[in-house]
Amino acid sequence: MTRELWKGNEAIAEAAVRAGLEAYFGYPITPQTEILEYLSKRMPELGRTFVQAESELGAINMVYGAACAGVRVMSTSSSPGVSLMMEGLSYIAGTEVPAVLVNVMRGGPGLGNIAPSQGDYNQAVHGGGHGDYQPIVLAPASVQEAIDLTVLSFDLAEQYRTICMVILDGCVGQMMEPARMPEMRPVQRANWVWATDGRMGKRERRILTSIYLDPVEEEKTNLRLLSRWKAIRQNEVRYKEYFLDDAEFVIVGFGTAGRVALSAVRTAREQGIRVGLLRPVTVSPFPVEVIDQLAERVSGFLVTEMNSGQMLEDVRLAVKGRAPIEFYGRMGGVVPLPDEILQEIQRVAAGPLSIGADPRADWFERMTAQN
Amino acid sequence: MPAKGWIEVSDTYCKGCELCISACPQDVMELDITRLTPKGYHPAHIFKDGCTGCAICGLVCPDAAITVYREITKAVASAEA
């Protein structure tokens, strides 16, 4: 396929269509609305299902229903709308049906603004819904990655009967880049052994539910979810690395924060600073092993996010106090620029760094001092 | 001469709620206090003649515990007609 110039949001919509999306349910919200608008035209053209739901609550439960019917289904939204889906997501997880949800994150909390943000990392990765469950969470940093990960999200969701979220910020959603679309996959319904699509003379009735009155049964269900999660952790970790081989310092950042860091890393390299970049592509499962190994040899980590340090905790869990960790974040829709990250790299490279330090607290002091 | 009918009440389903009893137009039903269902209820039963097989008991039963039969008598030509 030749390269075409795609806008992130529309690329995600078309990629989902190519991946065999059979039904879309969504509700308008900036900066995600282009996905819904694109599909409002595209899906009916193809004779597929498009419904603008009455709300995100309605949308996620329509997704839940269609997922139970065994078709490829997706919803997309942005931060406040995704918060309204937490009950539904917990039900979907508890019912063990596959579903894809895209969150084009915006500045928060509350109504906040529509600028690019990564403030929903914890909600997505550590489960904003009630109860124990872990979704797969993919974090594209470019339009091409947005396309590839959207397609992947459907396969993973079905393979593991789980929720697969794609989280990106407004930058990736609004940006245009050359990208290649995959071939159109035919819509075929896998004959899932679990789908409640009507007996149709073929089989015994099926039930899909998330209620297990007997705690022992519910615990078994939780263990079933955990065993899938174990497989996911073993098989599905994905990340991109830049200049890590000889890196003395490692920046860890996902999505836009990651690619902004790449620019800074290049300049720093020109200035002779041996810094590398690790950009998690799956933030859940989190690339623990590679960080674990890096922690053995590098002299410091710099975590950069467009939030107050959410992924930071996962990095700290992986590093286990073996190397100093520093943090730089911008919040509320502010996108860090390469110059800022470069300064941070220089600061970190200059040292001294302390393992005992609380990176978040130190960062807060710097932020409030400078303001 | 009214149709003759009778019913069977399933011990698996009956919960002794008495709705059938109060609905039966012939007042031929009552709870059988001499028996307990596995769930520990006194099941309903017919305690005297007069059931017409009208099936009203079945209609009002919330637990689909009742089966109703009716005896239908009709003339047939004799063999050597």
Binding site: L5, T30, I114, M175, V260, L262, S263, L337 | -
Partner: protein, 182 residues
Amino acid sequence: MQKETIIAGFGGQGVLFGGQVLAYAAMDAGKEVTWIPSYGPEMRGGTANCTVIIADDEIGSPLVKNPPLAIALNLPSFDKYEELLAPGGTLIVNQSMVDREARRDDIRVIFVPCNEIAEEIGNKRLLNMVAVGALLTVLPEITIKDVEHALEGHLPERHKHLLPMNYEALRRGFEAAQKVPA
């Protein structure tokens, strides 16, 4: 090679499309490119801008603080980007909408009367193409031909009849910029 350009102006001046044409041209020329608009709240009117980055390798940040290149189609944008431009950079300014001289001397400022030229050509909405033409004088990686192909390939059907005018706008802008002493 990596070059960052910011195009800024009023909402109606075709800022975003100007940037997209550049992006299409770069893509067709086999380059890596990013185009990103300043997307604000649903506020009508006001100024708009977009950042176009053209490079040989994978592009990192889609945004820059101090671009080496910029197009300012109105006064507020001139004020803003004259300040932000990287030293040694070049700023294309739509002379038709600004009434002042340049302030910095460590950058090159090229004044082009985009509106007038566009009106001469016969369609004042072409002022963005005039500016893009002018920009190409300092963006040798992209040729006028590249941009013309981009327009040919990506101008909406209903506007295809305007292609010749667009080509002329590019050329006139290019020439006007060349005339300006370096």
